[in-house]
Symmetry: C3
Subunit: 347 residues, 3 copies
Amino acid sequence: MKTDTWKNRDWITTFDYTKEELETILHLAFELKERFNLNEPHDILARKTLFMIFYNGSLRTRNSFEAGMTQLGGHAHFLDTGKIYAPTFGSETKDRHSEDIADTARTLSRMGHGISIRCFGDAVGWRWGMGNQVIREFAKWSDIPVINMEDDWYHPCQAMADIMTIKEKLGELAGKKLVMSWAYAPDTKKPLSVAHSMLPVASKFDMEIVLAHPKGYDLNSEVISKVKNNVTQFGGSFTTMDDMDAACEGADVIYAKSWTATQFWLPIQEKLMEAELKSLAEKNKDWICDSRRMALAKKGAIYLHCLPCNRDFEVTADVIDGPQSAVFDEAENRLHAQKAIMALLMK
Amino acid sequence: MKTDTWKNRDWITTFDYTKEELETILHLAFELKERFNLNEPHDILARKTLFMIFYNGSLRTRNSFEAGMTQLGGHAHFLDTGKIYAPTFGSETKDRHSEDIADTARTLSRMGHGISIRCFGDAVGWRWGMGNQVIREFAKWSDIPVINMEDDWYHPCQAMADIMTIKEKLGELAGKKLVMSWAYAPDTKKPLSVAHSMLPVASKFDMEIVLAHPKGYDLNSEVISKVKNNVTQFGGSFTTMDDMDAACEGADVIYAKSWTATQFWLPIQEKLMEAELKSLAEKNKDWICDSRRMALAKKGAIYLHCLPCNRDFEVTADVIDGPQSAVFDEAENRLHAQKAIMALLMK
Amino acid sequence: MKTDTWKNRDWITTFDYTKEELETILHLAFELKERFNLNEPHDILARKTLFMIFYNGSLRTRNSFEAGMTQLGGHAHFLDTGKIYAPTFGSETKDRHSEDIADTARTLSRMGHGISIRCFGDAVGWRWGMGNQVIREFAKWSDIPVINMEDDWYHPCQAMADIMTIKEKLGELAGKKLVMSWAYAPDTKKPLSVAHSMLPVASKFDMEIVLAHPKGYDLNSEVISKVKNNVTQFGGSFTTMDDMDAACEGADVIYAKSWTATQFWLPIQEKLMEAELKSLAEKNKDWICDSRRMALAKKGAIYLHCLPCNRDFEVTADVIDGPQSAVFDEAENRLHAQKAIMALLMK
């Protein structure tokens, strides 16, 4: 258990957190889950403030952070960027509508104890990677921890809830087969953040990882190389395939969800190629997690999804609402994992 | 005083709460009012979370629930449906704009201790009764108490504040004459929720109840039959009339406010018949609570209104701002009654 | 230190607060700053509620009030006027969109402990002074303290943070030269609130005050006369000039920011004269606080700005982000000054 490396650190990706640090978070998350269940006080952040800046809508993230801060004795501000001056890169600010991120970050740093941010898609003109850059700009200027509540590239809080759920349901992580699979959804603009965060975490725990997606839905090569390095260092394996059936065979965990095809986005393209996105997705409508595919997995395998989901597209209702689904445990674990992260960083 | 029937129960209508349970709520409400007045701590819901989902605007409801949770030691989230994924029946969800109520309810159930909802009118396409159905769908899926903050049919929190105010001002309820009267307002789309909730509560307390409205503004027949059953069981009387003057004679309480004529709504009609609504209302512009009508009531009679009101349409300024008006006591009692309800259900 | 004059008082301008009262606020602000720095509890407003009503956007004000209430043990409601019924003068209310201020104020008075309001510009149809009138209407009807979070005329919380910052950085206030200077900004509709609040406070502390602005940007004559009276009573001096260079010479503090020219506004004009506003501003583009002008000031002089600022228009980046800038200390002091004000008024 690491005790000395937390103070005022940012949580933007899990990349620069060691395995021991991630284990320290998980350990505390389970401890806080028990105290919550027993309704025992745990005022670790008494009277402290988290500033939650949302460029995008949110149900799970907002409510788990806000309830989490209350449970820790503090309070989280819900900051809709339409109601503050939307924090923007200095060169793009407009009077009475936006303000330089550098100024926002330095101001909030003086008034509270953490800044959490969600930013992707529409909010940054559908420019790929800009959401992550916005968060990094906050981190550059903030003197208090900056926490990523999901950008276009990463969703590290989700990954901690995911791995916590797998551990809770299946026990020992080592040797378990985790399938991260693309799935079809009518909305073709979903971030890659979940896969980009989950795989780098899972690969630190000696798991047998399979990444499955149709051609054209590749993950970022830097992320893939981090996953491969982890497997070399910590054991397990990493395989990619473009056959969902083959991937599901013998799985312990099937995490099937949709993500976009980044080759059709800015800045690679001059403008977002919506028709091409649509057309590629339509060719892969059979990428759905249904009971037939769950039957290919191990008995006792679980289904994960970060939610919100597209029922009957990404996953059939009988699977996500069935006995193998752990999606509401997974949603609940957002609360406990994030409380652990906040407690460690903002204490 | 009932102590054993509260845990995790929903508060959607008062129908399935017994007289003893309603008295238990009232008793606690007065107790909490005293503690508030003395500024004595009463951390009954310390660190607990209420999720307040508002499909519609609100002043009194939102602020009384949010301040109430603070006073009880917890915190209430203000959730504007435009900022979460608006909870919707599964078949009506739209990507990145809405989410299945079943998923929203099951997610929030894991993170906090109560879900309160306001839903009617515009938010459900002006389909009559749909607001109530939305709340019932939440209750179906939620493992934590669901609290009705007003739908198109019911406003049970308001009814508890109303009866509390009558008791506070007039003492013994038995034998008091309560007039619930329709009144004219330019806005012809107001819910029936207040009358539909107030009468079923008042009729449990041996009161002489008069319901007055012009032809075409009938309350729901099921509600009326519940009121009649209550009168049979608990005493008092129930009379309807279409003459506001006659109704006001000898009254102890005049509760005059506007409500819509449901026969012009979906699903009875194919579309909301705004012109017919308007025209029926215009014929009844003389249904106003003014000083002449207050003079028909008993000396010491009080005037009630849930607010916001249409001054000079529903009620003249000299009445609502005069010595017989108890509307701000009534608004304050929202706070205390709701704190009692939350304390009992979410403890 | 005054102890007997605070209970339930409004904070709309600093005009009717004595020098001793302002000193009491400053003293407590520094005390609370130290406790915040040491993370020592100071639950002066435990479980109490502040209702923050925002007609306009806000970053610093909202977050400093909301975090401040948390630190004091209470909670602040963020009330966007689009989500409550926007409080409006009775004659201007619209069904389901707005509500009489008299009703809003009397309702909230029953549920919590303070009402804070920001209101100017767009929210009141660009009618000059109407924001202040809205706040005064609240104060007329509210039984709990009304706190001005900035209107078109005044920003008294900012003034307390400003004077606190000067005291913190420069020590003794008496004899220091304070320059309040207009500066150019592309947005020509900024309130005069900062200058109108800062000068009446500073002039109670025996300072050498210089007000500098181009012709046409005069402050309100009533404010000016209060400043002059203060100088007579408390010492120091007050000079006005239309030469920014001359003003900056030998300054201890340069507070350079933009404000509008009220002679082009309603109610003086029939409609807001945007072209004339623009044209007058464009003639004075050289009113900028740059390093050359900072060099005219004393060694060790500080630069102040309430933020958000227009970099490269009101002030160059090298000044506002340089070693003489105290703008983030100033922003932080909003928190501590406002906590002191709330603690004294709402205790």
